[in-house]
């Protein structure tokens, strides 16, 4: 049994590690008002560079540290130069999406190079513990504390006494004024990304050594933890990020002490949601601030949707409806069933992210709610499957809207963070609420799809069923977009301040968007559950959220036909070309990056 002092030391050490990530995020946010979702990937790169150095090259510790910091900084510079600088004058959503794309590309490259299996990362330090009062401390703890404090001091000196440091602070305070005074903003961005990446890489290496294990799933959680710490401290506030990190470390450490390890991440995300809702400017922001700058039409690219003639839509509909009569293999039909299920998710996301402008990164959680509701209702309460799927949709609509509603007053990047966190919370609740969700073993033996008591046997009937449901949801969505509600959604997306000045309640319409979108996603999840017959807390994961987002961007934000076409393209084409599963996410990431760079309005245009 460890003592409280142990938990405190553990919390502070963890906090130190988070601080290395969070400080980088704060610096980047400060100068470019961007939350860098790729920060966790640099952390991952740092961990694996550390592994190569320690295990393969057997470098001494000091050299390892220098090597990790240098390579991570290089990756940061490359991201800044080739990923973000070309987007400087584009819409605000572009850099956000770019960092998401970069993050997926980097993670996949690391995974393809090193395999997803966990590896041990020895710390090279003697395994001894020093007794302090009732607790103990090891050499690695001291190393982490030293690196944390040294980095903080170096950063302080840099920002305070160097010319480039002044430029960074000036840019953070007022970018335009700094540019007019001759500050080279590109150099500032470079410096900031380099520093942030070096710190992030070191953090990854230290965490790997701390747990003596690294794996490719570290990336997303590092980003999330760093963002939590940064937001708690106040976005862009460097000292705030340090304090936020230490607080997060302590909250987690005590939380684990009281409730157990499987709840670890829950506390981080709950802390984030609480802070976002009650103090969206962070714990240390002054209460009064000038009203935010107008975002008029700058978040989403303006564009005219591509007009598709009615006959073309009818021909496409007929072709897909008649497909099972043609001599096609059941493999093709199965692929398309998958595409239709994704299309429902994409319809949901294109409404929420595209039409009303809440870029959700945790959308797969809505699938999970629908899937679990439908599966458990049909299993435990013998509800007919078609009814349970509808209940899944309704539950997803209700619960999803309820959970996201505290975040309705947030804008831009903050919505993305909140949805990401809520997605993780849902997955953690499913994992831990064993009495209802069966916990980590998942739900098996889910009854197959049936309609009016007739089981849908054969791939053709399942194909028609999923296709029909998808088309129905799409038609409903088109009808919604054509109503005053669709108009109101788009007005809120384009300029929420002007929308409010004309009597549009943001809460009301954001809730309606989530209710409608939640239903579509829940139905998709419900169908999937009965199709797979087994689900667990990992069936619906972030990769699906990101795929859905890529589909939505590809098709054009808010564009119903685009969401469907995008699903067929991104789910179907990799099958057609037999691309191995592990390369697909890499391809999705690259597609996302190319779209953001060259056609941000998507193939069919924003509606």
């Amino acid at each position: 049994m460890s003592s409280w002092l142990d938990y405190t030391i553990n919390g502070l050490i963890l906090g130190n590690v988070y601080a290395l990530v969070a400080v980088g995020l704060a610096l980047i946010f400060g100068v470019s008002r961007l939350i860098n979702f790729a920060q966790g990937s640099i952390y991952l790169v740092g961990a694996y560079v550390g592994w190569v150095a320690v295990v393969a090259l057997r470098t001494p510790l000091f050299v390892t540290i220098v090597l990790v910091a240098a390579i991570a900084a290089l990756v940061g510079l490359i991201i800044e130069r080739f990923g973000l600088r070309p987007l400087q004058n584009s819409v605000r959503i572009a850099p956000l999406l770019a960092t998401i794309g970069i993050s997926f590309v980097l993670d996949q490259i690391v995974m393809l190079t090193f395999s997803p299996n966990p590896r041990a990362l020895p710390s090279q330090l003697p395994d001894i513990r020093f007794q302090i009062g009732t607790g103990t401390i090891g050499p690695l703890d001291i190393l982490i504390a030293c690196i944390g404090i040294t980095s903080a001091l170096l950063l302080f000196v840099f920002l305070r006494y160097s010319k480039l440091g002044w430029a960074v602070r000036a840019t953070a305070q007022d970018r335009d004024a700094a540019m007019q005074m001759g500050v080279d903003v590109n150099r500032v961005n470079q410096a900031v990304f380099g520093i942030a990446a070096a710190l992030g890489g070191l953090s990854g290496m230290l965490v790997g050594m701390y747990y003596n294990q690294i794996d490719t799933a570290m990336s997303l959680h590092a980003t999330l933890k760093g963002v939590v710490a940064e937001v708690v401290g106040g976005a862009g506030n460097v000292p705030g990020a340090v304090v936020g990190s230490l607080l997060l470390g302590l909250v987690e450490s005590y939380g684990v002490a009281v409730f157990g390890t499987s709840y670890r991440n829950l506390f981080a995300f709950l802390l984030l949601i609480v802070v976002l809702v009650f103090r969206p400017n962070g714990l240390f922001a002054s209460a009064k601030q000038a009203p935010p700058e107008p975002l008029t039409g700058t978040f989403i690219a303006p564009s005219r949707p591509v007009h598709i003639p009615r006959w073309a839509l009818l021909v496409a509909f007929a072709a897909f409806a008649l497909l099972p009569f043609l001599p096609v293999s059941s493999y093709v039909l199965q692929t398309l069933i998958n595409a239709w299920l994704f299309a429902m998710l994409a319809l949901s996301l294109t409404l929420v992210a595209g039409t009303i402008g809440l870029v959700s990164l945790g959308h797969a959680a809505l699938l999970a709610i629908g899937a679990y509701t439908s599966a458990l209702l049909s299993l435990d309460f013998s509800v007919p499957v078609s009814m349970s799927i509808i209940c899944g949709g309704l539950m997803s609509a209700a619960l999803g809207t309820l959970l996201i509603s505290p975040s309705f007053r947030l804008r831009g990047h903050y919505v993305s963070i909140a949805t990401l966190a809520i997605g993780e919370i849902i997955s953690l609740v499913i994992l831990n609420w064993e009495t209802v969700t069966h916990g980590p073993i998942g739900v098996s033996g889910i009854p197959p799809l049936s309609l009016f008591g007739f089981e849908l046997v054969g791939v053709a009937s399942i194909y028609w069923f999923s296709f029909a449901v998808m088309v129905l949801l799409a038609l409903l969505q088109v009808r919604l977009l054509g109503s005053h509600i669709g108009r109101s959604f788009r007005a809120i997306r384009d300029d929420d301040v002007a929308a409010r000045a004309y009597g549009l309640s943001l809460n009301r319409y954001k809730a309606l968007a989530f209710i409608f979108g939640g239903f579509a996603a829940g139905v998709s999840g419900g169908i999937a559950a009965h199709l797979y017959s087994y689900i667990n807390h990992e069936t619906f994961n972030t990769q699906q959220s990101i795929l859905a987002l890529t589909i939505v961007i590809l098709g054009g934000l808010g564009n119903v036909a685009g969401a469907i076409a995008g699903s067929v393209a991104l789910v179907g084409l990799p099958e057609v070309f037999r691309i191995a599963a592990e390369y697909r996410i890499l391809i999705y990431g690259i597609v996302l990056l190319l779209l953001v760079r060259f056609r941000p309005q998507g193939l069919l245009g924003t509606i």
């Binding site: 009064k288 000038a290 009203p291 107008p294 008029t296 039409g297 989403i300 303006p302 564009s303 005219r304 409903l476 009808r479 919604l480 109503s483 005053h484 509600i485 108009r487 109101s488 788009r490 007005a491 997306r493 384009d494 300029d495 301040v497 002007a498 929308a499 409010r500 000045a501 004309y502 009597g503 549009l504 309640s505 009301r508 809730a511 309606l512 209710i515 409608f516 924003t606 509606i607």
Partner: protein, 295 residues
């Protein structure tokens, strides 16, 4: 119909009382007092202009009146009812409409849709006031679209065409074009059309002629004069003094958050403090000279 009766009776009752009244309105940003203890009364049907150098606090004052910002002190009353700190959506429901200094049209919405948003607070058939389940009913009605809902939408569209016709051939030919494709001047016009669609009792115009050439300015001046003649109560922020002098019943001059002068146009123009405020730091000497030559 009912609304019209209500409006005419209101007008009769409060003819002499003020529609909008501000008392001691104050807003501070850190060390800066952007709006400093402002009193103002606006009678029904009156047009009052607020002038002053850049940074005098005019737009902040508008934000306080329309609920986009909350005052640190003082009170706003509409029709004698305190509305201080009300949300913008609530104020829109009470007939307060505004345009924005920098132009805030909905870029991806067509001209028609932009102006229809202005009529949002007047939707009745599709937005039942039922508590709790109101939003769900609204969703259902939007999807089902019974005859009453379709009729309401059609009537509003007709009305929007009427409003757009007031701008001559400026907007009507572009009715289905997205607002981002419009010229700067046309965006300003769309904003005013959107404000009119609300059927406002109080209209706040924030530099409606900014960025317009002399012809367009004259056109806009004519429109504002028409609105005033129609009995609309207007609070106007404007830099073009010619227009201010022609249109206003009264002029208020602000500088550094304070009201430094108030009265009829000519009196204000010759007020020593006003001249100092403008020439002292509002306008540089060459600009003032240029103004002289232009006049």
């Amino acid at each position: 119909m009912g609304a019209e009766i209500e409006k005419s009776t209101n007008a009769a009752v409060v003819r002499h009382a003020s529609l909008l009244s501000l008392r001691g309105l104050t807003r501070r940003f850190g060390g800066l007092t952007a709006v400093d203890d402002i009193d103002l009364d606006l009678a029904e049907g009156e047009l009052v202009s607020i002038i002053g150098p850049n940074g005098a606090g005019k737009t902040t004052l508008f934000n306080l009146v329309t609920g986009l910002d909350r005052p640190d002190g003082g009170e706003v009353r509409l029709d004698g009812v305190p509305i201080t700190g009300f949300s913008p959506e609530k104020l829109a429901g009470r007939g307060v409409a505004r345009t924005f200094q920098l132009g805030r049209v909905f870029g991806n919405l067509s001209v028609m849709e932009n102006v229809l948003i202005g009529a949002h607070t007047r939707l009745r058939a599709v937005k039942p006031a039922t508590p709790l389940i109101g939003p769900l009913l609204e969703l259902g009605l939007a999807l089902l679209r019974p005859a009453a809902v379709r009729a309401e939408e059609e009537q509003l569209r007709e009305e929007v065409r009427g409003i757009l016709a007031r701008f001559g051939e400026r907007l009507l030919p572009r009715i289905d074009q997205p607002a981002y494709s419009l010229s700067y001047a046309n965006r300003r016009r769309v904003e005013i059309a959107r404000a009119l669609a609300l059927k406002p009792r109080l209209l706040l115009l924030d530099e409606p002629t900014a960025g317009m050439n002399p012809t367009e300015t004259t056109e806009m001046q004519g429109l504002v004069a028409e609105l005033k003649a129609g009995g609309l109560t207007i609070l106007l922020i404007e830099h073009k003094l010619d227009m201010v002098m022609r249109l206003s019943d009264r002029v208020i001059v602000m500088d550094e958050g304070k009201k430094i002068a108030e009265g009829a146009g000519e009196d204000v123009r010759n007020d020593a403090r006003v001249i100092e405020a403008y020439l002292g730091h509002g306008l540089s000497q060459p600009a003032a000279a240029a103004r002289e030559t232009a006049a």
